[in-house]
Subunit: 343 residues, 2 copies
DNA sequence: AGCATAATTGCATGCGCATGCAAAACCGGA
DNA sequence: TCCGGTTTTGCATGCGCATGCAATTATGCT
């Protein structure tokens, strides 16, 4: 087995300096003669030397009592959901643009967050993002004690010391209700994702509350699992009966598209002539010409940017208080809600 | 600043054993009395101790001359593309199921692979997956010298010592041609992604070769950037002229859907009555009732599983030769290609 | 019980790096 | 030229862990 990795000692020897000099050459703040630094870096590059990020984070532990790896852990469920996949993509880009890296951890069920976090902590990550799930009180305290900032994306901060960035699901539900009420609908149905899921619950609550206010309660509730197929199946249940709803609000665009495709293709219904449809998220395909899905948009770019900024700020300065941010969703009116002519 | 991280020494003290015992308690192969191991683990859990994966990978360097971090680096371009996002999701799940973790690195342009790899190497990753891009000869040699196995996904292994898993793009293009020829088309167009991209090139080459064989050359070539909108724009160019093509092969489903939506909604064309359409990839939305897009399916689950298996095998046994695997695509016939009645 | 062998344990050490500290080199002014 | 002050440098050390090795204890057999 040949000598594998080049260390700072090797470079030091080759450059005729001490190992510390090499180390300092790579530390922008360190005191070292500019000429010498250049020389060292030149030699180092020739040799293909790469400072060992792992060892670095180990040894820096001594000085400030903390290890920094430059890595942010991201925990995510439902990674196959395009909405989430996209969210991860954005997180990764933004984190990286700011010089951080992303260690991805996928879990099957929201209950696995604590375990995942445990595993992740082994890597001495500097911060954590949790997508659409929450951690236990106990784990939150552990993170706080560890000085590891936590960012809940898409969820309320459940414990002290935790930041969060999310859409206002309740208000979004209300908005959807308003859109359908304004369009003059009266037999309005709701299609949710997983019934025990906070997101679905809040969206339904806002929706139902607003409808109730208007004296026009939800006539039918269906639930799926956020997938296209589950939306499609929900459509079957919605439109098979006698008294069909004349409007549907889906807690996610993917399900709304499932409803749309099923209604139009499988059941021969027209939208918005036969019923109006409102989705949530405003994913890219909602805007496709053949869909024109009216939806409540999440400004995900901005949200993720903010989440990243907050997290980075706290990683760099652990004293900082956690931030709680809620964004409003905005209606994007498209073709799946009927227009009332002035009457 | 309070004492932050609990170390093996702390646990050892609390458990009344030596630090080595604690270390061994966490090493499945180490020689330690079962009873003592249980005891240590119990105490350790009570204290919330987590072995430090970073330090571990540091110290294990001594014994076998290599550091293992348990982390696989994944380099990806076009992460916003749903097809890629989904691929990453699968890689992450599968790697994790086998006890590995994924450090994600996004790059804007395929030329940045070498740089990305350099950065990634700082983290002493045990292996690399590169999606739809290739590395330089020089970098390939560096990786080999380092004993870091590289897996090119969606690309030919460009250098020695590199594994690859990919779809047979050339054959896929041929198949698409056959499908359209069998349907009796004669004015056949091609829509590619980025023109300099290997994937697009190979798919077009197979497609064009097969058509040429049949004496029916491609009548129009358009290129986009793999996005829906670029497909939509390509449709504008395809169908604005006098002699419209009567069939189109798109090098990706996303673009094919762009063509489909544009043609049906923006231009009032019917599919397959006015033209047939074949895509590539068979993404989930190709199967949606309103699309029914005929496509060349990539068995991505199997491909990614194989890629992961090969990579892991090589990480665990560096002596192993690299593997080169090509999967055939299979046609999924749906509604966007016209059926000829027996004649 | 008495001995040989096997299983277990603790000590000491090193991984690659960053940094406190003191020695050395440098600088400018008198 | 000499001195006080400022940079720059190298030495030595420790981070948390895994492991070789030797010391110790447990086990099996006669």
């Amino acid at each position: 087995m040949p000598k594998i990795s080049i260390t700072s000692y090797d470079v030091a020897q080759a450059a005729g300096v001490s190992q510390s000099a090499v180390s300092r050459a790579y530390s922008p703040t360190a005191s070292i003669a500019d000429k010498k630094r250049k020389h060292i870096l030149k030699i180092a590059n020739q040799m293909g030397y790469r400072p060992n990020a792992i060892a670095r984070s180990m040894s820096s532990a001594r000085s400030d009592g903390r290890q920094r790896s430059g890595i942010v852990g991201v925990i995510v469920t439902r990674i196959q959901d395009p909405f989430f996949a996209n969210t991860i993509a954005l997180f990764s880009s933004l984190l990286q643009a700011k010089g951080w890296h992303m260690l991805l951890f996928t879990i099957d069920s929201p209950e696995d967050v604590d375990d995942a976090l445990h595993s992740l902590m082994q890597f001495k990550i500097d911060g954590v993002v949790i997508l659409s799930a929450i951690l236990s009180e106990h784990m939150a305290r552990t993170c706080q004690a560890n000085g590891t900032p936590v960012m809940l994306y898409n969820r309320n901060a459940s414990a002290a010391g935790i930041s969060s960035v999310q859409i206002d699901n309740y208000a979004g539900g209300q908005t959807a209700a308003e859109v359908l009420l304004n369009a003059g609908h009266s037999r309005i149905a709701f299609v949710g994702g997983i019934e025990t899921d906070k997101t679905t619950q809040e969206r339904e609550r806002g929706f139902a509350d607003r409808l109730a206010e208007a004296g026009c309660p939800v006539v039918q509730r269906e639930f799926g699992d956020y997938t296209f197929d589950s939306g499609r199946e929900a459509a079957g249940r919605l439109f098979s009966g006698r008294d069909r709803p004349d409007a549907v609000f889906c807690a996610s665009d993917v399900m709304a598209l499932g409803v749309l495709h099923a209604a139009m293709q499988d059941m021969g219904l027209r939208v918005p002539e036969d019923f109006s449809l409102v989705g949530f998220d405003d994913i890219p395909s909602a805007a496709w010409p053949g869909h024109q899905l009216t939806s409540i948009r999440q400004p995900i770019r901005r949200m993720i940017r903010e989440a990243v900024d907050i997290l980075i700020a706290r990683m760099e300065n652990p004293e900082l208080a956690p931030a709680l941010v809620t964004y409003p969703g905005v209606v994007i009116m498209r073709g799946t809600v009927r227009m009332l002519s002035a009457d």
